[in-house]
Amino acid sequence: MQAAKSFVQAFLKQMLLGIQLSAVSHRSGSLQERKSAIKLSADVAMAVARGSKKWTRGLIASLSKEEQNRSFRQFVLGKDFGRPAKLCHSSWKIPRSKNIVRRSLRFLSKRKSNIRAPNSSVLAGTLVEKRTQVLKRLVPGGESMDGFSLLDETLDYVTCLQAQVDVMQKLMTTLEASKHRADSNAQCPKAKLHLLAMVGSCYSTRKGLWKRLSKRPKLTL
């Protein structure tokens, strides 16, 4: 089961916008700050690109609560956080995000009281029950899910995680290749072609150009 192409496209775009708007492009940030910014952008992008699921609401809620993500609320709620984003052509406004944040915060406070509710399953204490608890902690928002719903959300979450890893890997390969070829005039390394094909860019719809691009000498990555 693979993530939908529309998800992959939305995820990549949202993540890149988030990275541009965050500390990453500013040289003054430390390595740790940049890493946190990228991870945050990736997670938020994944949740926003997927839309409204229990795990996405849970993820956004838990991300907004983390202290180091103070400016996160400003990203997601579309407010201008005051720093000029030199590379950004459009602000990172996500139309549905306000609702997602509001619903997540309501969701969290509503469910808090249910976390300690007695588990009606007859399997309490068994291996299955113990491992279910572990899974609930791994899947965002999982604490309040039960049975079928937990499995359903897990399936969706794992599919999105796989796509997240896949896109980030391809992005990294693309950037690495371009870095090593900064001097040469290589226009479109193979990795970038894969990335573009994945997001269904204009390159792939223009057959002639696509054929010409793929006929370029093979570049070792």
Binding site: L12, S25, K39, R131, V158, Q164, T174
Partner: protein
């Protein structure tokens, strides 16, 4: 699994379980029918943790790559072109 048979059929549960199983990396080697619930849960948890670690590691490496991302770098060009598409 909780017994919500009135709304969710056994077939639905089976389908969900087999879909989940097919996502897990070890399942490709195994062609048997059902695995036990506890094994499925354990492998799912292990897999999710490894995916989390991968994302963490990739964030690390990407942050190292993006350190030189000023307006004129080829990386910024790539990102801009990806955003335009």
């Amino acid at each position: 699994m909780s017994g919500r048979g009135s709304r969710i059929t056994d077939e639905e549960i089976n389908e969900l379980v087999s879909k989940l199983q097919s996502l897990l990396p070890e399942s490709r080697r195994r062609n048997t029918g059902r695995v036990s619930a506890s094994k499925l849960l354990k492998e799912t948890c292990t897999y999710i943790k490894s995916l989390h670690r991968e994302v963490d590691d990739l964030s690390d490496r990407l942050s190292g790559l993006m350190v030189t991302m000023d307006s004129n770098s080829p990386q910024a060009d790539i990102i801009r072109s990806l955003l335009r598409s």
